[in-house]
């Protein structure tokens, strides 16, 4: 069975259009034939193979995308040479004007292509088409190109035009408009609103600062493209180990909290009647398993984390990732319940031991008083909605994703962590 037609169309659509565009211009030659043969090979593989992953792997292994683009460049290059000045060896005003016109036409085509691409994107985005105006800063690049076209149309010669591109830095302005300060600010604002961890914010801050620094060093306020790209890569590289370690330690205290809650709640009288036990085939037996097995699992988990990071179960909660998640309302449980679990339940959660009656009573009361859940657990969504509305219009978040419901909880809001 061939590879799914919709996937193949998405993968090969651009290449089919490129070949058709060359045919429409009546272009021919060896490279044109090679383009057609390369596309035919891609189409043939799509029919012969059935697995999408294997298909895209084969296309890359045979270098078919690369070969197609290579021949396409040569076809266009040959076509441009044919329309260039005659090979008479005379460089006169007519030849000069022709060269300038060819260059300006290429820029005009580019503007058209950018506009067409944006129109296509907007069509794909349907009712959210206006988002494209926020996310794709095509005006910046179009303005830069139109500035070049205006210069070319001002009556100057081709060499003067080329010289002015360098003198005014317009060639660099064109290069640097791919990544803009505005798009980096958007990513930083998104990272701050999400507040997943401090490194993700730091990364975006550093990229924006880098952009500003390199732009300030440039004649036209545009960073050197290659330097910006490599320095951004270095920023990612620097912070990646910290992010991985942060998340792994967070996993340590998250899983510990999960088991502490399971263990103490399993001793509450209502345990067989609430989730997760109520969903079991034999709820009472499931409760018994939680009571008997959780301490053993928790202590092996503690041993694993101690081996990894030299941290005891209690010390996992003293890691900055815990305070961070508390501050940004990522923790599902309320502060009083977490303090109860960590300070009072954790020390006695030991294999083959049971919690004291008073601890069970506290857990039951917190449950019955509805004080276990963080009352501000909806804050991350509100925070993100504020960011989203600031870019896509007031009220837009609710319109698209619905109203953010406040959780029903009688617990007090989280304050500074006290473990």
């Amino acid at each position: 069975m061939p590879v799914n037609k919709m996937i193949v169309d998405a993968m090969l659509g651009t290449f089919r259009n490129m070949l058709q565009e060359c045919k429409d211009k009546n272009l021919s030659g060896d490279n044109m034939d090679a383009m057609a043969a390369t596309l035919a090979r891609m189409e043939q593989l799509a029919v012969e193979m059935d697995d999408t992953g294997a298909y895209s792997g084969q296309l890359v292994q045979e270098g078919l995308f690369m070969k197609f683009s290579d021949h396409y460049s040569k076809v266009l290059s040959a076509a441009a040479q044919q329309t260039g000045p005659s090979n008479s060896g005379v460089y006169d005003e007519a030849a000069d004007k022709q060269l300038l016109q060819n260059t300006l036409n290429a820029y005009r085509d580019t503007v058209e292509r950018i506009k067409e691409n944006k129109t296509e994107i907007k069509e794909m985005m349907g009712s959210h088409a206006t988002d494209a105006d926020v996310l794709f800063k095509d005006k910046i690049i179009i303005d830069a190109i139109e500035q070049l076209i205006a210069l070319g149309e001002s009556g100057i010669s081709y060499p003067e035009f080329l010289a002015q591109l360098i003198e005014k830095g317009l060639d660099k302005a064109l290069e640097g408009s791919v990544v803009t300060g505005e798009s980096l600010q958007y990513l930083l604002d998104a990272a701050i609103a999400t507040a997943a961890n401090p490194f993700l914010i730091k990364k975006e801050e550093e990229k924006l600062a880098l952009h500003k620094k390199l732009a300030a060093a440039s004649l036209v306020n545009v960073p050197d493209n290659l330097q910006f790209q490599l320095d951004c890569e270095k920023i990612e590289w620097t912070h990646e180990p910290d992010i991985i370690k942060w998340n792994k330690i967070k996993e340590g205290w998250e899983k510990s909290l999960f088991w502490l809650d399971e263990w103490i709640t399993a001793y509450c009288s209502f345990a067989p009647f609430i989730e997760p036990w109520a969903a079991a085939k034999e709820p009472k037996e499931a409760v018994k398993e939680s009571q008997g097995c959780v301490p053993g699992k928790l202590r092996v988990w503690e041993k694993i984390n101690h081996r990894y990071f030299g941290l005891s179960a209690k010390e996992l909660f003293l890691h900055p990732s815990f305070a961070w998640d508390a501050e940004y309302h990522w923790i599902y449980w309320s502060q009083e319940y977490v303090e109860f679990l960590v300070n009072e339940v954790l020390p006695v959660c030991i294999p083959f031991q049971q919690p004291a009656i008073n601890l069970i009573e506290i857990a039951e009361k917190m449950h019955n008083d509805n004080r276990k859940i963080n009352p501000n657990i909806h804050h991350p969504t509100l925070r993100y909605a504020t960011f989203f509305n600031s870019y896509f219009r007031e009220g837009e978040f609710v319109k698209r994703f619905g109203e953010t419901k406040k959780v029903k909880s009688n617990a007090a809001a989280w304050k500074s962590v006290n473990l």
Binding site: D70, P159, R299, Y308
Partner: protein
């Protein structure tokens, strides 16, 4: 009346000056200077056409050389050896290229190869310790005896999960590189090792456990 020769001299002068004093673009500057020297020696624009030879193409080759050297230094500094290898191959091959068209094809080919190398340079699923952690929990937890058999079965399910995950990555990578096999030695290479926040002893033990499960 425009003096085209003088206008072009000015243009090539500006191109040369752009790179002057920039040590990162030394080859480009030399090639640009050669081009400027050629046009400076002309008394008529027509002469330039006869004298230029492939000096213009040499600028493009020099620019590729300089940019790849910048990339190479960057990847060497951060010990990204797979990406650095691509730069070295381009730098080696660009010396043998005679024109821009050859350079473009060569760079595209090398980048295509590099993309495959980057994709297949993976230590997944080893980086995800979840399976091994679960096995340890199921097997080592102090639990009442009536649950031991069930927990041992859970541990075996995790073992099967590990085998499945390694078989799956091997199948996936073979789409990109036929004959690809998971390479445990790769784990200790700096670019992968720095992303595993554990001691050498922990890593060595995890490798041993995984190899035992996979019978490797």
């Amino acid at each position: 009346m425009i003096n085209y020769l003088e206008a072009y001299k000015q243009y090539y002068f500006l191109r040369m000056k752009q790179r002057e004093g920039n040590v990162d673009y030394n080859n480009t500057y030399t090639a640009e200077k050669n081009l400027f020297d050629i046009i400076s020696s002309c008394t008529k624009l027509e002469e330039f056409k006869d004298k230029i030879g492939n000096a213009n193409e040499q600028v493009a080759l020099a620019l590729v050389t300089d940019e790849q050297n910048i990339r190479l230094r960057h990847y060497e500094e951060i010990k990204e050896t797979v990406k650095a290898a691509c730069c070295r191959r381009i730098l080696d091959k660009v010396k043998k290229c005679n024109n821009v068209s050859e350079v473009i094809s060569m760079v595209n080919e090398e980048q295509n190869l590099s993309n495959i190398e980057i994709t297949t340079d993976t230590i997944y699923p080893f980086a995800d310790m979840l399976f091994l952690e679960n096995i340890e929990i199921w097997e080592q937890a102090d639990i009442p005896s009536e649950y031991k058999e069930r927990y041992a079965a859970y541990a075996n399910e995790e073992r099967a999960g590990i085998k499945k995950a390694y078989a799956s990555i091997e199948k996936e990578m073979n789409n990109w590189q036929p004959g690809w096999k998971f390479n445990f030695e790769r784990i200790d290479e700096e670019r992968h090792r720095r992303l595993l926040p554990y001691s050498n002893e922990v890593i060595a033990a995890q490798i041993k456990s995984t190899q035992q499960i996979l019978n490797k």
